[in-house]
């Protein structure tokens, strides 16, 4: 028997109307989903604030890297984190700006350049660019280093238990060897794992020929029952260390971390080819502090800073001037310093454009099989 008041439906409908207005605004603006905020580099206006917004992987700077920059320049650095190149790209393409320096991997630099998400660097503001070793500049994804300068590089190979299975031939075949069933892991990375199959067949990691891809697919489907799984490099590392895995498809940094903890292990960069990857520094379009961004990139390319960085991350430095300062212990690790003939058989992963979707479909099919 409660009393109820009738109100005009108008009051309620007004609320819905507001949603409707937002909706139509959106549909107009949604026609440009690639909105990066206004304009490119450091055009006009007054001096920049003394701030820098860095978007990086977690733990990818040495303890001193940022503090030494802040001290030298008085610029306050804020660091945020992403967990994959693709996450980074999706966020930037959907319009998420605010960052001044990002650290994408090789193929991603090419994609970002093509989709107009990053801006060209002004090398005149980066004198330390001359420190970059000859072998690490002018790579296929950015032939004139217009958009990027290298940060760290490494290889992808096989970390294995030398004590248990003996010295391995430098080949991809052991990853397909039935006697290691259940004790082998490949990377949960489309390009690297399909790449391993392509390498094994003697093809390029950047193959786009359908027949070659079909052969690679067949190899991987054949391999799947032998595997423990498809892991991230950091997941394979402890499994090889504690014996659950005998062979792991890993990035070199993880291999070196493992090798430095356990002498029974070894790392090999297989024949006929393997991947060499490079993480790079880039400046996104719409960066608010491009001047500071250039200064930061310059700072990273300083010999001392570069050495400290690699000594911390256990990855290789592209900085020729920093090489002498790399820890002795690191340099002694198997696979850290590569002889020329090994270096020559490394390939760089490139963006495969249209074929990307075919690659992804293949990998999904393999994982689902």
């Amino acid at each position: 028997m409660s009393r109820e008041k009738r109100i005009s439906r108008g009051a309620f409908l007004k609320a819905m109307g507001a949603a409707g207005v937002a909706g139509s605004t959106l549909s107009v603006l949604a026609c440009q989903p690639n909105t990066s905020a206004t304009g490119g580099g450091g055009g006009g206006g007054g001096p920049e604030e003394k701030k820098l917004n860095l978007y990086n992987w977690a733990d990818y700077v040495a303890k001193s890297t940022i503090p030494s920059f802040e001290q030298k320049t008085g610029i306050q650095v804020t660091q945020d984190f992403y967990s994959s190149n693709e996450d980074l790209l999706a966020k930037l393409q959907a319009g998420g700006t605010g960052y001044d320096v990002i650290v994408p991997s090789d193929y991603m630099v090419a994609i970002m350049a093509k989709s107009d998400v990053i801006q060209k660097l002004d090398k005149s503001k980066i004198p330390n660019a001359k420190n970059v070793g000859k072998e690490y500049e002018g790579l296929s994804y950015d032939p004139n280093n217009e958009y990027s300068l290298p940060y760290q590089w490494g290889t992808t190979g096989i970390l294995y238990n030398k004590k248990e299975i003996g010295q391995l031939d430098e080949s991809w075949d052991p990853m397909w060897d039935p006697q290691f069933e259940g004790k082998v892991a490949m990377l949960n990375d489309t390009r690297e794992t399909l790449g391993a199959a392509l390498y094994k067949l003697g093809y390029s990691v950047n193959a786009t020929d359908q027949e070659q891809l079909d052969e690679a697919r067949a190899e991987l489907i054949e391999q799947k029952p032998l595997l423990s799984g498809y892991f991230d490099s950091t997941e394979s590392r402890p499994l090889v260390l504690n014996g659950d895995l005998l062979l792991g498809h890993v990035f070199s940094g993880d291999a070196f971390l493992a090798l430095s903890e356990n002498d029974d292990l070894d790392y090999v960069v297989p024949k006929p080819a393997a991947t060499r990857w490079t993480d790079n520094m880039c400046i996104p379009n719409g960066a608010q502090h491009p001047e500071n961004a250039h200064k930061f990139i310059n700072h990273i390319l300083d010999a001392g800073v570069g050495a400290k960085l690699s000594n911390y991350t256990y990855y290789n430095t592209p900085n020729a001037a920093a090489l002498p300062k790399i820890d002795e212990a690191l340099r002694k690790l198997s696979g850290y310093v590569l002889p020329d003939k090994v270096f020559k058989r490394l390939e760089v992963i490139e963006d495969t454009g249209e074929a990307t979707r075919e690659y992804e479909r293949i990998f999904t099919e393999v994982k689902s099989s």
Binding site: S83, T234, R237
Partner: protein, 273 residues
Amino acid sequence: MAAATGKTTGRTGLRGTPDWALLLGAGFVYLFLYAPILVLMFFSFNSTRSTQVWTGFSLEWYGELLRDQSVHDAFRTSLIVGVVATAIATVIGTFAALALSRHGFRGQTFADTTIYAATVMPEIVVGVSLLVFFVAIQFTLGITTIIIAHVAFTISFVTIVVRARLSGMDRSIEEAAQDLGASPVQTFLRVTLPLILPGVMAGALLAFTLSFDDFVITFFVSGVGSSTLPLKIYSMIKFGVSPVINALSTVVLVATMLLIFGGSRILVKKEDA
């Protein structure tokens, strides 16, 4: 009625299933829930950076935890977002549940469907679309956008939980109160709310938990300097999650346990008649 039998509240249980079986079952589930917790606490004392291979005892990660400012910042951000988003979502969700538990108003099916639909979308879809939306209306990304997004995806959970509480509940008490002259607000505060409080609390708990460990949606709608704990942790995948995180989790767990058992005076209800 209650006095009729000598056995009252203590003996309710399934026939043939003695109380100890229920206790054992509950204990097993708690063990299941806490097994990995014990392991991760164990590894917080590891002497190397591994969270899976034990190499020796060390407190270095706790020292690291004290020093690492970025972890503190991330934790603080997560806490702020969690508390604020939970508070908002709980209020809005409870109101919605109250409204939807009535029968037969126009648009009810649409409202119901929307509530369910909000739980159905995969996180990446919610994240990307919200990001595009915020950019389109030129709303600066930051803690606010994270909170807005978290409220948006937790409201439905609160609503559904509170409705489970409301359903079948005797509403005549509310009507009686109003007949006796209480205003709707008074009725709500003095009659309805106490009755649904366990449901509201359960919904709030769920919302907070969802918010605190959210990664994907948060990643897309976060702005500069608004890294939450999950953003930092998931980003550590490239190099391996440091035991600092285990140390942080251990500290949080121990602190919470102390609060629960220490503050038991607040939590422990008087035995209801």
